[in-house]
């Protein structure tokens, strides 16, 4: 119990600081509070259903399925699966990290999950539409087109390094 309270301590201090700032009209704290709200609003809505889906994934999806699509036998298809999954992951990397961890423990290879996480931060569909409308379609097309080969190359380098060192990702229960 004591440990749990400690984990939330910084958060409580922050909330108290923001609360007091609003009472005494301290600009700095009010700004922080507004920034907090912008992100917290989305996270509160996205994380619970996302984690329920991860839980269901854990109990239903078999190791064989994941090995077949994200493992070594999958060949080049695994990158297409990884990028496809990334493009449809709501919440970007915040959701992609736990998903990648779950995939890994079901037999996904390093290059698949690194491709997935990296692509999840770069390929958010609603964001890309907004980007294209402000910076132009050429810019968005270039950014996405250039990133695919770079992501896959770096994912393979990382895979090589991790496998060589027998690295394994932490198991999160």
């Amino acid at each position: 119990m004591k440990k749990r309270i400690k984990e939330y301590l910084v958060f409580f201090i922050f909330i108290a600081f923001v609360g007091i700032s609003f009472l005494i009209n301290l600009n700095l704290g009010q700004k922080m509070g507004k920034n907090f709200y912008i992100f917290a609003k989305d996270m509160v809505l996205i994380l619970p259903p996302a984690f329920i889906l991860i839980g269901l994934f854990d109990v239903w999806v078999s190791r064989e399925t994941i090995e077949k699509s994200f493992g070594n036998k999958s060949g080049l298809m695994k990158y297409i699966y990884a990028i496809g999954l990334a493009a449809t992951t709501v919440g970007g990397t915040f959701v992609a990290f736990p998903v990648a961890n779950a995939l890994y423990h079901k037999g996904a290879e390093y290059d698949s999950i690194v491709t997935y996480v990296t692509a999840a931060s770069l390929f958010m569909i609603p964001m890309s539409i907004m980007e294209a409308s402000i910076l132009g379609i050429k810019f968005t097309a270039l950014r996405l087109g250039l990133s695919i080969p770079l992501i896959i190359i770096s994912a393979n380098i990382l895979k090589y390094v991790f496998n060589k060192e027998n690295y394994s990702l932490p198991k999160v229960e």
């Binding site: 109990v59 239903w60 609603p126 950014r143």
Partner: protein
């Protein structure tokens, strides 16, 4: 976001019809994971709220001057240490563009903003371990520079 709820609802219904107990086990597992990581997410929100104080004005002022080389490097560094949602980042990039900032600098900023997460380190570390997190972010930094240079070449700003 709506679609996440629809997918979750459909998955729950199908799962429930197929096997009630397994469904409860799945929900419990998911929520347990969520409970465990929640303080880290809150911590992250606190850090982001403070980092975002590095205001838009500062970024506009800083990236609007100087030459292309220094501008690109600083845009990638600023993008790496900050974190902001797209609906703030893109209008900000629009302002930069209007002020005549090159595409290569905007590309470096936008890409590293998404790709390199200095502030998301506490979360990523939980799921990837320290070493993988650090390496992945270093590669993210390199990729961001690569993408920026590529954009610069296509817009005829370098070479």
């Amino acid at each position: 976001m709506k679609y996440l709820y629809i997918v979750a609802a459909i998955a729950l219904i199908i799962s429930f019809i197929k096997d009630k107990n397994k469904t409860f086990k799945g929900i419990k597992k998911g929520l347990l994971k969520f409970k465990k990581i929640l303080p880290k997410y809150l911590m992250l929100l606190v850090i982001i709220s403070i980092v975002l104080l590095l205001s838009e004005d500062f970024i506009i002022k800083y990236l609007s001057k100087g030459n292309i080389l220094i501008g690109t490097i600083s845009s990638v560094i600023i993008g790496s240490i900050t974190m902001m949602p797209g609906f703030i980042a893109y209008p900000l990039s629009g302002v930069l563009l209007e002020r005549g900032v090159s595409y290569i600098i905007i590309g470096g900023f936008v890409t590293s903003l998404m790709l390199v997460g200095v502030v998301t380190y506490p979360i990523e570390k939980e799921y990837f371990g320290k070493k993988a997190t650090i390496l992945r972010n270093i590669f993210g930094f390199i990729i961001a520079i690569g993408i920026a240079i590529g954009i610069g070449i296509f817009y005829g700003e370098v070479l």
